[in-house]
């Protein structure tokens, strides 16, 4: 009950502070721009003839993956820059003092802030991602293999970054917690590329280094899950051939993240959240 109160407060704050309106306007601008581009692609004439469906769909698939990458980046930054202040700002400015003098568990505050941020991100993913995929379908007729799974992976990615932001903000200033969380997301992405390079070149040390980064911060595994759910089978085959010849493309993957990695990401989220709550509970305010 109290958790939901704080989650609701977080969502109301986002709405009242016009963040939702600003993000909605910018997202609609991106959607409109991509709709225009995809429409141009669908109606383009090459050598006096319209592009055939397979070619159109391959191009649309590539654009969807690039758009998903953009969304994953916006999502990670949003998670870091919304989650950290949601938790840390009220501690820094003293708003939390009168609240915690009430019969409230600190764990409820942290969980509520986390939940509110994750719900906001999930709504963003569902609405923005859903509209974008709809635009792709309407303009080009292309539908990715598993669009719902891709959106679910992106939500999970947002939850991982939010978890780090909220847990860090339990002890660090909100700005520092947000920046560190965003940097960890970037580090994880680079770790994923290093792992791919290691696997493509048969260099076990590089591959292991990438795996260690993924274990420390599992956001890239979730991005790869989204990527796999969005890319057509032919992309996977091309990626496998490319890997076999030692080349790496960060926008294609050969397989989804293994179940063990997904389980690790879940366990990691719970463990980091619990650690953040413990840090908050013992903090003098």
């Amino acid at each position: 009950m109290t958790v939901l109160l704080f989650a609701g407060l977080t969502l109301r704050e986002l709405a009242r502070r016009r963040l939702v309106a600003a993000v909605a306007v910018l997202t609609l601008a991106i959607v409109a721009f991509t709709a225009w581009g995809l429409h141009r692609l669908a109606t383009a004439v090459v050598d006096g003839a319209p592009i055939a469906d397979p070619g159109k769909h391959a191009a649309a698939a590539g654009i969807v993956i690039v758009l998903a990458f953009l969304f994953s980046f916006v999502l990670a930054l949003g998670a870091a820059l919304v989650g950290a202040p949601a938790m840390g700002e009220s501690i820094a400015n003293g708003e939390i003092l009168a609240v915690l003098a009430r019969p409230v568990r600190r764990a409820d505050v942290a969980l509520g802030r986390w939940l509110g941020t994750v719900v906001a991100l999930a709504i963003y993913v569902a609405v923005a991602g859903g509209i974008e995929l709809l635009v792709v379908r309407v303009t080009t007729g292309y539908v990715p293999p598993s669009p719902l799974a891709a959106l679910a992976y992106l939500c999970a990615l947002g939850a991982v970054v939010t978890t780090a932001a909220v847990a860090l903000a339990a002890r660090l200033p909100a700005l520092a917690a947000g920046i560190v969380s965003a940097l960890l997301f970037g580090l994880a992405w680079i770790g994923g590329i290093i792992e791919s390079i290691g696997l493509a070149l048969g260099n076990q040390r590089l591959a292991d280094a990438g795996t260690v980064v993924a274990l420390i911060f599992p956001s890239d595994a979730l991005w790869r899950g989204a990527l796999y759910a969005l890319q057509p089978a032919v992309f996977s085959a091309v990626a496998a051939n490319a890997n076999a010849s030692g080349s790496v493309n960060p926008f294609t993957v050969t397989s989804p993240p293994p179940p063990a990695m997904l389980a690790w990401a879940c366990g990691w989220t719970v463990a980091v959240l619990v650690a953040g709550i413990a840090a908050f509970r013992t903090r003098d305010l």
């Binding site: 502070r17 003092l97 609240v99 003098a101 013992t282």
Partner: protein, 278 residues
């Protein structure tokens, strides 16, 4: 019925610094305690320990017979922090509504209206906190602290942002709380304010209690008398019992007396003596 507040050898240490050392005090129900001390004396630390925001490194304390931090007890206390701040994107009635939900008040609307009237914010209750002056935000803080008729109210510098009218209102408010048998723990720099409304005073300096007692016990030493004659005020260093004799002698000497006032140590004088001596 247990005392409202009991603290035994309460201590808080940050590294090598004693923010609070050996604070022992007892506050009865319905009593108004003035908690005084210079900046950095440990006053806010003590209040924060008592309301469960800071963990003591030594000693123990109880509120209403339960250990500090007990969740059910926290439903029976109110707290105005020194650093009062409320979400500027919410209206005052929304802030109070949120706190009412945290407290699970059964008749929240009535409770909110009561405290808004109490602090004189009813007219602006629908306006966002961001449009409030600092004084109005402090009034909102008082309303939050008084919500749900708490049995103990901790007020940490409740008049720091208020003008003289606001300060007078807060004094009247504290009087009403005392009349309702609410225990008030008043942390203030304004000694005149404490002198007027508190039953007892506890003075802390550098984390330790340096004096404690009723306001009269701390300030009541008669030190002489002031006499106003035709040519102004004159001080006479005589004992209390010698005042009638002094007046008779002056009259006999042809002095026209307009007023006679026993001189008393003010709380401010006593406070400064204690703190400077420490």
């Amino acid at each position: 019925m247990p005392d409202a507040i009991v603290a035994r050898a309460l201590a808080k240490r940050y590294g090598r610094i004693d923010a609070l050392a050996d604070l022992t005090l007892r506050v009865e129900r319905g009593e108004c305690l003035g908690f005084l001390g210079p900046n950095g004396a440990g006053k806010s630390t003590a209040v924060k320990i008592l309301v469960g925001l800071v963990r003591a490194t030594g000693g123990d304390a109880q509120l209403l017979g339960r250990p500090v931090g007990d969740r059910r007890t926290r439903a029976r206390i109110g707290y105005l922090p020194e650093l009062f701040r409320y979400p500027d994107w919410l209206a005052a009635h929304e802030v109070l509504g949120f706190h009412a939900k945290l407290m699970r008040l059964s008749d929240a609307d009535l409770a909110i209206d009561l405290v808004l009237d109490e602090v004189g914010l009813r007219e602006r209750a629908r306006d966002r906190v961001g449009t409030y002056s600092k004084g109005m935000q402090q009034r909102l803080g008082l309303a939050v602290a008084l919500l749900g008729e708490p049995e103990i109210v901790f007020l940490d510098e409740p008049t720091s942002a208020l003008d003289p009218v606001g300060r007078s209102d807060v004094r009247a408010l504290i009087e009403r709380l005392r009349a309702r048998n609410t225990t008030v723990f008043l942390n203030s720099h304004l000694l005149g304010e404490v002198e007027r409304v508190c039953d007892r005073v506890c003075v802390v300096d550098r984390g330790r209690v340096v004096a404690e007692g009723t306001v009269d016990a701390l300030t009541g030493e008669t030190r002489g008398v002031r006499v106003r004659a035709d040519d102004g005020w004159h001080d006479y260093d005589v004992a209390h019992a010698e005042i009638p004799g002094l007046v008779a002698r002056l009259v006999a000497d042809g002095v026209r007396i307009h007023a006679v006032e026993p001189k008393q140590t003010t709380l401010e004088e006593r406070f400064l003596a204690l703190v400077r001596h420490a």
